[in-house]
């Protein structure tokens, strides 16, 4: 099955009930199996600028490269798989674009963004993220987060200073320890996960998971799983009904079939002629 037939992708973003403008950005490229979501921060409209740069750099640059090359190829220099390498490099490229813009334009000083992105190919997903935007996976009816926030609170949880139950009461929410565009260099956290048919992947900004408990996200996804656009609007409505204190964005990816990258001499030969 081709990647754009195997995946059903919907996205929705909303400024919430309190904020006047939306600093989140989303991009979906079904033809190359890529989804990107970013939650910008910074004064005036700098947050929108940062998240906008991040998603457009990653989406356009990565899809451009994948026109001619297969993500399963390995890189000549490092031997690393191209899909993994491209995702990391392009997030780093987004980092330097934002950093340079904020250095050269005083009104953008200090802007930054979180990012979470998934590149689907060959029955796998490469997940790259920085900051506290998350990717969840619903498999066989159970929802779990497959990214770990780069936030002060998560570090405290990891260090055993605060329990997960107590963390809900913490006054130190929304302090991220890593962000795109703040420094000249950034480390991208990358993981590769196997994908099964029937999985639903949810990428969201903290406007969703701060306002809606994981159990409610799970029950919404299972009730609406046969109608993805409705599921997305229902999740946003849920966040807004609970107060909607932040921008809310969601991307939903449903895996409808297997998607294997063709291998073997024939595929390579065909690919050769295509170039």
């Amino acid at each position: 099955m081709k990647i754009n037939e195997a995946l059903e992708i919907v996205s929705q973003t909303n400024s919430g009930m309190v904020r006047s403008h939306n600093e989140d950005s989303v991009a979906c490229e079904p033809s190359c199996g890529l989804v990107v979501l970013a939650d910008g921060m910074g004064g005036y409209n700098a947050g929108e600028v940062a998240s906008g740069i991040a998603v457009s750099v990653v989406a356009t640059e990565l899809c451009q490269r994948l026109l001619g090359e297969s993500p399963t190829d390995s890189d000549d220099v490092t031997g690393e798989e191209l899909g993994v390498l491209l995702l990391r490099e392009n997030i780093q490229k987004a980092n330097s674009s934002i950093f340079h813009a904020s250095q050269s334009q005083p009104q953008y000083a200090g802007m930054g963004t979180t990012i979470v992105s998934g590149l689907f190919y060959d029955n796998r997903v490469v997940v790259g993220h920085i900051g506290d935007s998350r990717m969840y996976r619903m498999r066989e009816g159970t929802l779990g987060s497959i990214t770990r926030d780069h936030s002060l609170l998560q570090e405290q949880i990891d260090a055993g200073i605060i329990s997960i139950e107590d963390a809900r009461l913490s006054k130190n929410k929304n302090l991220v320890t890593r962000a795109v565009g703040i420094d000249a260099e950034v480390e991208v956290e990358i993981h590769v996960h196997d994908v099964l048919v029937g999985d639903i992947y949810l990428l969201c900004s903290d406007g969703l998971n701060d306002m809606v408990e994981d159990e409610d996200i799970q029950s919404t996804l299972s009730a609406f799983q046969s109608n993805l656009p409705l599921a997305a609007s229902q999740l946003i409505q849920l966040a807004n009904d609970n107060g909607g204190r932040d921008n809310v964005s969601v991307i939903l990816v449903k895996v409808k079939g297997k998607f294997v990258v063709p291998r073997g001499w024939l595929a390579k030969l065909i690919n050769c002629f295509r170039k």
Binding site: M17, K171, N174, R178, D183, A223, F224, G243, R245
Partner: protein
């Protein structure tokens, strides 16, 4: 404004201590930050670790132990108005930064970053150490604490007041078919009706009432004879829903 502890005995306030250090100790010996000269208090009785706006109380293996709000405890994440009991003494924890935030800069995500290489002019974000171990050494700079304080929860003010609809019990009663007469109380926020693959609708509870949404199936369910659009439709008391040939009535109980 930093959080503080108010020391009292038998209802009489003795002293106030601002929590302006990362770690403060409570004990009988004079070198403690909060020294309580009483034999029921151990030499080093307890410590309070403060990280930005959160404070944690910890028992330092004291002889007579600690209580928080009357419950003996070894370790506790302090919340505003908690009362720590040590012998006859009470320490009340006050952290009311919530009231000082303005709606505008409320809950903005901020970056905690490693010390800046070059201080860019106009960058209002305080330079803060990344990583937890480093965080412990520097966190109590007032500059660092303030923007964080702006973001704390004004949740109660913003959350819509619970309207009557969500407090009332709503019921769907089946009117026709083999299950006629059966009642389904809508306790959960989401209730799925129908058969997956054939026709499914979802009932959602929202602050201002119940809504029905068509999720899948070629034909849409009807409410009082009118087919639903693709949008959620608000249900009124005694609406009749028809789904996959089965009629049911929605109403509020009591």
């Amino acid at each position: 404004m930093a959080a503080k502890l108010i020391l009292s005995m038998d209802g009489a306030v003795l002293k106030e201590y601002p929590l302006n250090k990362e770690r403060m100790t409570i004990g009988r010996k004079p070198h403690n930050d909060i020294a309580i000269d009483n034999l029921a208090v151990s030499g080093e009785h307890a410590a309070i670790v403060t990280i930005l706006n959160d404070s944690f109380l910890e028992d330092l293996d004291s002889t007579n132990g600690l209580e928080v709000n009357g419950t003996p405890t070894k370790k506790h994440f302090l919340q505003n108005n908690d009362v720590i009991g040590i012998g006859k003494y009470k320490l009340k924890y006050i952290n009311d930064q919530v009231t000082q935030s303005t709606a505008a800069d409320f809950e903005k995500t901020m970056v905690l970053r490693s010390p800046v290489k070059q201080a860019a002019p106009g960058v209002s974000k305080p330079a803060q150490p990344a990583g937890f171990t480093q965080t412990q050494t520097n966190v109590n700079k007032p500059a660092a604490a303030e923007p964080a304080a702006d973001k704390t929860g004004k949740l109660d003010a913003i959350q819509p007041a619970a309207p009557a609809a969500s407090a009332q019990v709503a019921v769907v009663q089946v009117l026709t078919g083999s299950n006629a007469g059966k009642e389904l109380e809508l306790i959960k926020n989401l209730t799925t009706l129908g058969k997956p693959g054939v026709q499914v609708a979802v009932l959602t509870r929202r602050p201002h009432g119940f809504f029905i949404t068509h999720v899948e199936g070629a034909s849409h369910p009807t409410v009082n004879g009118t087919p639903l659009s693709d949008q959620p439709h608000q249900l009124n008391d005694h609406d009749v829903i028809e789904l996959a040939g089965v009629k049911m009535e929605f109403y509020y109980k009591g």
